[in-house]
C-alpha cells in the first residue's frame, strides 16, 4: 500500500541557515488493510514523515508511493485522509460546513458531499453537533470531526497523527473503538503516537523512529514474542531474610502487606511458590508480566 524508500529530509534553520537533518534514510512498507503504528518520542521526526506521506512536503531524497503513486501528486492525495496532531480547524465553521469545505477541496461534487456528510457524521457519532460551530466543540469532539473530515472523500488510507492526545480515558477508549471500526471497514490506518500502550492495543504492525532514524519495524507480535516471560509474586508471613531465600528473584522489594518479587520466567515460578508455602508463607497474588513494546524498543 504505502512504500517509503530511503527517505531523507532536512531543514535549514537559524540565522546561518544551517542544515538540520530530520529524517535519515527511512525505509518501510505499510501493508494494505492493516493498522500500522508509528512510534517515536516527541521531536523524533514523526510529524515530518507524516507531512511527507500526506504530500504536504516533498522529501530531499527518497520516494514515498501510495499504491505506486508519488504521495505529493493529487491522485495520491485523493486516496489519503489526514487527521493532524492538533486539529485546530477554522473554528467559525460548523461541523457540517467544515466537511463541505474539505469535500470541495478534494474535488467532490455538491451532491457527493451532501450524501457523504450524514454517513461520516453518523460514523464518528457527531450527527447531533453538525450545526454547532467548532469553537464550541470539546477536545474529543474536535478529534471526532477531525476524523470525519479525513473520511469525507472515503479514502482507503487514513493517517492519524496522535489521535488520542489530550483526551481523557473515556475519550481515548471511544477513539480507539472508532479506529478499530474504521479498520474493520477495510481501510489502512497509519497511526502515529508517542504513547506505546495506545499503539500496542490496536496496531498490527509497528515502526519506531528515534532522532530521525528507523530503529525497528515489523509486526507487533514479532516484537512481543519471547520464549519466557517474567512473573511477579506477592507474598507475606515470612521474615525478609527468609523471603529473599525462597528463590533467585530478579527484583525484590518490601511493601506494607509483605513482599513483592519477580522471578525470571514461569519455569522458576513453581519452585518459588513451593518454597514460600513450605516456609508457612501466604501467597497474595501471582501476576505474569506481559512484554511490552517499551521493552522491545528500549
Amino acid at each position: 500500500m504505502l512504500e517509503i524508500n530511503e527517505v531523507c529530509q532536512s531543514f535549514r534553520t537559524g540565522f546561518w541557515m544551517k542544515n538540520a537533518e530530520v529524517l535519515d534514510r527511512i525505509t518501510f512498507t505499510v501493508p494494505k488493510r492493516s493498522i500500522f503504528g508509528f512510534l517515536g518520542p516527541n521531536g523524533a521526526g514523526k510529524t515530518t514523515l507524516i507531512h511527507l506521506i500526506t504530500g504536504i512536503k516533498r522529501p530531499v531524497s527518497g520516494t514515498l508511493k501510495l499504491n505506486g503513486v508519488d504521495t505529493h501528486l493529487a491522485a495520491a492525495k485523493r486516496m489519503i485522509g489526514y487527521l493532524p496532531e492538533r486539529p485546530y480547524f477554522y473554528d467559525h465553521l460548523t461541523g457540517e460546513a467544515l466537511l463541505t469545505f474539505f469535500g470541495r477541496l478534494t474535488g467532490m461534487t455538491e451532491s457527493e458531499i451532501a450524501t457523504r456528510i450524514p454517513v461520516v457524521l453518523e460514523e464518528v457519532g457527531m450527527t447531533h453537533a453538525r450545526k454547532l460551530v467548532l469553537k464550541k466543540y470539546s477536545k474529543g469532539m474536535l478529534q471526532r470531526i477531525g476524523i470525519a473530515q479525513a473520511m469525507i472523500h472515503n479514502p482507503e488510507f487514513l493517517v492519524l497523527d496522535e489521535p488520542m492526545s489530550g483526551l481523557d480515558p473515556v475519550g481515548r477508549k471511544e477513539i480507539r473503538e472508532l479506529i478499530l471500526r474504521l479498520a474493520r471497514e477495510g481501510r489502512t490506518i497509519f497511526f502515529s503516537s508517542h504513547v506505546i500502550p495506545d499503539v500496542e492495543s490496536i496496531c498490527d504492525s509497528v515502526a519506531m523512529i528515534r532522532k530521525g532514524k528507523l530503529i525497528g519495524c515489523g509486526s507487533v507480535a514479532q516484537f512481543l514474542a519471547r520464549e519466557r516471560n517474567p512473573v511477579e509474586v506477592a507474598f507475606a508471613g515470612l521474615s525478609a531474610e527468609a523471603a529473599r531465600g525462597c528463590a533467585n528473584f530478579t527484583e525484590f522489594r518490601e511493601m506494607s502487606e509483605g513482599f513483592r518479587a519477580t522471578v525470571g520466567s514461569d519455569l522458576d515460578l513453581e519452585p518459588a511458590l513451593r518454597k514460600i508455602l513450605d516456609a508457612k508463607g501466604k501467597v497474595l497474588w501471582v501476576n505474569p508480566i506481559r512484554p511490552s513494546l517499551e521493552d522491545a524498543f528500549s
Binding site: 486539529p87 474539505f102 477541496l105 474535488g107 473530515q149
Partner: protein, 261 residues
C-alpha cells in the same frame, strides 16, 4: 476542463472560508466604525466652510476609505498567513489535492472580497453624503474611489509577499514602509532629478524607478474637482495594479512552497 473547474472550486472554497473568517473578526468592525466616524467628521468639517462643502466631504471621505481599506489589507493580510501556520490549519488544507499557489490565491481573493465589502459600505455612505450636500457624482470621482480598493489589494499583495517569509509584525512594518515610499515616489524622483542633487544621491534614481508607485491610484485634485480623466488612465492604473499584484501573490505561493512552518 474538469480539472480547471475543480481547481476553481477549491480556490473559491478557500476564498469563501477566508472571507467568513475575516468578516466574523471583531477588529474589522472597529476599523469600519473608525472610518464611519471619519466620514462623520468630514461632514462637521464641511460645515466650517462657506464654499465647496461637498469638496471637503469628498476629500475627507476618500481619506477615510483609504485609511480603512489600507489598515484592513495590511493588518488582516499580515496576520492571516502567520495564523495559518501557527494554528497549523494550512497543513490540513495542503493535505488535499490543492497546491500552495491555489491556497495563497484563495486567501488573497477572500481578503480582496472583504476589502470590497468594506469599500462598498464606505463609498456608498460617502456618495450619499456627497450627493445630499449638492455634490455632483461623476466617473472621475467614482474611479478615484474605486482605485482606493485597488490600492488596498495592492497593499494586501505586498503583505502576503512579506508574510510568506517573515513574521506578521515584520511584514506589517515593511508594508507601511512601502506605503510611505509608494505615495512619495514622484516627489523622490523630482528631488533626485534636480541639477543641484549630488551624484551619490542621483545614483539612487534607478532604485526609485523600481519602487511601487501608489501615485497611480491617487487622483488628487482631479477627483476633488471632478475633472476629466486623462485618456486610458483607468486601464493603465488597473494594468499597473495587476502587474504588481499577480506576481507578488504568485511569489508568495512559491516562497511558501519552501517554508517549513
Amino acid at each position: 476542463m474538469k480539472t480547471f473547474l475543480s481547481s476553481f472550486r477549491s480556490l473559491f472554497a478557500i476564498a469563501r472560508v477566508t472571507f467568513e473568517e475575516i468578516i466574523l473578526d471583531k477588529i474589522l468592525y472597529n476599523f469600519l466604525l473608525f472610518a464611519f466616524l471619519l466620514i462623520g467628521v468630514s461632514y462637521l468639517a464641511s460645515q466650517l466652510t462657506f464654499v465647496g462643502q461637498e469638496r471637503v466631504i469628498f476629500d475627507l471621505g476618500l481619506s477615510a476609505i483609504n485609511l480603512s481599506c489600507g489598515v484592513i489589507a495590511v493588518f488582516q493580510g499580515g496576520a492571516m498567513i502567520a495564523r495559518e501556520f501557527e494554528r497549523r490549519t494550512v497543513f490540513v488544507v495542503l493535505a488535499r489535492p490543492i497546491s500552495r499557489l491555489q491556497f495563497i490565491f484563495g486567501k488573497f481573493f477572500g481578503l480582496a472580497a472583504v476589502l470590497l465589502v468594506n469599500w462598498v459600505l464606505l463609498a456608498g455612505t460617502e456618495i450619499l453624503l456627497f450627493l445630499s450636500l449638492g455634490g455632483e457624482m461623476n466617473g472621475t470621482r467614482f474611479v478615484a474611489m474605486a482605485f482606493l480598493w485597488a490600492q488596498a489589494c495592492f497593499l494586501a499583495a505586498f503583505t502576503f509577499f512579506f508574510a510568506s517569509f517573515s513574521t506578521a509584525s515584520v511584514s506589517i512594518m515593511l508594508v507601511i514602509g512601502i506605503y510611505l515610499i509608494g505615495n512619495n515616489v514622484e516627489s523622490l524622483r523630482q528631488i533626485l532629478s534636480r541639477p543641484d542633487t549630488s551624484a551619490i544621491a542621483k545614483s539612487f534614481l534607478p532604485l526609485v524607478g523600481l519602487m511601487p508607485n501608489l501615485g497611480h491610484f491617487n487622483l488628487g485634485f482631479i477627483a476633488t474637482y471632478g475633472l476629466e480623466l486623462p485618456a486610458g488612465y483607468v486601464w493603465r492604473g488597473t494594468a499597473y495594479a495587476l502587474c504588481w499584484i499577480v506576481p507578488l501573490v504568485y511569489a508568495s505561493g512559491r516562497i511558501l512552497d519552501r517554508r517549513e512552518g
